[in-house]
Symmetry: C2
Subunit: 437 residues, 2 copies
């Protein structure tokens, strides 16, 4: 039984619409089931095979055995977009996302874009915290093997580490890329560790491949449980045409066609913010398309955004409640065990007496319920997704739910969920600019 509860009561889509759309998806659900049963990587949907691919897990576990040790302090994840968003989603959810203070050993440092402040920090870590190669692991992740920022960053990081440590750095690098990419071949030539990404699994669907499993496993998380959650949710979301992924997909598409052009992941547990950022890529790239599958120009796509409650209520609530009705909200929150209760002896006993005896969870929940109640009064549609708890298992469930949901959304919109043709446009221009300088 799933540890995530989906509530669609306030989605404001009529039952008959739901039923008719469910039927329209039956052939596609069938197709996904066939792919899972086959266990082979032959279609664009191949990523749904991954959670039960024991070879991937074994390769990752072997690499973890080979590269991890009790002295490990920092894991540098050098990758951008699909190469780090899933890992960061899981890591931040389990460790906490707090700028300026994250104590964990080993600590993952995510290096995505390039910035001199980042290099200052890396230099600082190199200078002050590291004395032996065993204390670091560098996981360079690029599906194509040719991502400019990623290659820039690994070159800069590698130079810093060599300057500090002398030799031994190369053995602490693990490359994750398509088998046969230039990066793959370069790694083999240099006897650098390498893990393969299945060719047909795109970056935004790759969190359960070595892309996510290796750094998370190396950092000590239970990747078996992550995959178990994914497998169980996959079963739920392929069971019939009446399941949470199908229903959520239909609701999103219905809202979209009725003018809700923005999809807001409204997180009410701050450390889950990064799962919203992961979803931005999944949605942005999967359905933000100039042409549909018949080649007709459509310029479709919901615009994904992320809000964090209650923080963003203090910046965006006015707009959400009073502004144009073009935002469709997905509330995401979680039950939780640890609690902080307002102390009996208060500093300001007369201020905000509502919170006397209230725990942090209760207050946060009341604020979320209050927001939902205000939305109901304003007839603003929303979906509610509650985690029973936050763990590798439930995160595996959630990420798998979203990836299958996205395939259904694309199927309903008749767009290709797996390509990203427009991305080349800015890359070509950038290449030209670099070549003429």
């Amino acid at each position: 039984m799933s540890n995530i509860k989906f509530t669609f009561n306030e989605s404001r889509v009529a039952n008959e619409v739901m039923q008719s759309r469910q039927k329209s998806l039956s052939a596609y659900v069938e197709r996904l089931n066939t792919i899972v049963a086959s266990g082979v990587y032959e279609t664009a949907e191949s990523s749904i095979v991954v959670p039960s691919d024991t070879v991937i897990l074994e390769d990752v576990m072997t690499m973890i055995d080979r590269t991890c040790n009790s002295n490990l302090k920092y894991i540098f994840v050098v990758g951008i977009g699909g190469s780090n968003l899933g890992t960061k989603a899981v890591y931040d959810a389990l460790v906490g996302l707090n700028d300026g203070y994250r104590k964990r050993v080993p600590n993952i440092i995510f290096i995505d874009t390039i910035g001199e402040k980042l290099f200052e920090i890396l230099q600082d870590i190199c200078n002050e915290s590291i004395v032996h190669p065993d204390e670091v692991l560098i996981n360079v992740i690029s599906k194509s093997g040719g991502t400019a920022e990623t290659i820039f960053n690994i070159e800069a990081l590698n130079a810093m580490l060599i300057e500090k440590l002398g030799g031994g750095v190369r053995d602490r690098i693990v490359v994750t890329t398509n088998e046969g990419s230039d990066l793959w071949n370069a790694a083999l030539n240099l006897h650098i560790h390498a893990l393969a990404i299945p060719e047909l699994v795109g970056g935004r669907y790759s969190v359960f491949t070595a892309v996510g499993l290796y750094p998370l496993g190396a950092a000590g998380f239970d990747i078996g449980s992550l995959l178990a959650g994914a497998q169980d949710m996959r079963l739920d979301c392929l069971k019939s045409t009446e399941n949470p992924a199908v229903d959520s997909a239909i609701i999103s598409v219905e809202q979209y066609t009725q003018g809700f052009s923005i999809h807001n992941t409204f997180i009410f547990k701050p450390e889950l913010e990064s799962i919203g950022r992961w979803y931005r890529q999944l949605m942005g790239e999967s359905i933000g398309k100039r042409k549909n599958r018949d080649g007709e120009e459509i310029r479709s796509g919901m615009v994904p955004m992320v809000s964090v409650g209650s923080t963003d209520l203090h910046s965006m609530a006015q707009l959400y409640l009073g502004g144009p009705k073009i935002i469709f909200h997905h509330f995401i929150h979680a039950h939780t065990e640890t609690q902080t209760v307002i102390p009996d002896t208060r500093l300001f006993p007369d201020l905000v007496s509502d919170i006397n005896g209230v725990s942090n969870n209760k207050l946060m929940h009341a604020i979320m319920q209050g927001t939902q109640a205000a939305f109901v009064k304003q007839e603003i549609p929303f979906v509610d997704i509650t985690f029973e708890h936050v763990s590798e298992y439930t995160l595996g469930e959630y990420l798998q739910f979203r990836m299958i949901e996205m395939m259904y959304i694309a199927e309903l919109l008749h767009v290709n969920a797996f390509n990203q043709p427009s991305v080349e446009e800015y890359k070509i221009e950038t290449k030209q600019i670099l070549s003429t300088k």
Copy 2:
């Protein structure tokens, strides 16, 4: 002369439209000039008086003298929305925004919403890093004095600190609030330090009051320079009806009325992300309005969002280039001095040869220019804002520019830029839920 360069070439608004709208704003520009000249707090626009208010600066400097010392390690800024977004914008821009690693003494820890991971961290800091009250400062900021999350958090933090340090905590607290609020009165009764926010300056316009000046000054930043930048930009933006704030406002409103419902602050310098988050509140609350100034139901408002280049190109570029044309982009970047150049001896010399001999700034700039070139080809409008450098001065300029721009936008849309009536809706519901539990 301004250290920020505004380029409106690709805004795709006709000259005659610009000129006619400029004229329509002339009375309002006149009005703002009169308010600045008067130097008094009597109108909704009073926040533009603040940058040259020497009394505010003196009060803050006196409080800094009284409360800061060389042992100070942590400044806890307990506040949410307008009470911390401006401070965080400046702090992150100057220090760097890197989750998991921020070394600075004194380090500001921002405590806005409530979350148990945050309490774990605070407990950890209390247990391991603090032995004397002088090492901490707690700045509690709430304009109304009754923000539930803020009061919850100060109570929890106060209890933790007392448990660790015994006495002396109360002297390390500075309250910033409206003079006469319940919090103000409670602070006076308890002999807790207090700084006043001018009644007529709303939270989202308050960064240059004690709200932003005190924590930034206590952390050692040059708040005089911040204010000097604000004053110089204020002069620029009130000079005639042809100035950057007027032009930017007209362009945003024109794009909005032509269907660009989303305003994307597209940051190409990662540490500036928080100035985008500050702007979300400024725009969301100032123009996300159910009714216009005549009381007519309009449900207007651009939806502000923030993207970070190049990170988000790897999640959102497909949508921006291929998806619906409803997003209007403001590119924000900065020239910079420190540079990291790709080392001559590369680990992977054959990969991405474009980056050989290229600095991080040059690569980032090429990516941004490439993105702009692709936008031009797709006829996607944008504005370009370049900081000559990132400093207290230019940040003061930028924040002031945006606040005046927002007043012009609201004037053009005929909405009240200074209230937030809908926010009460969820607060009332939340109060009810808490009271029945």
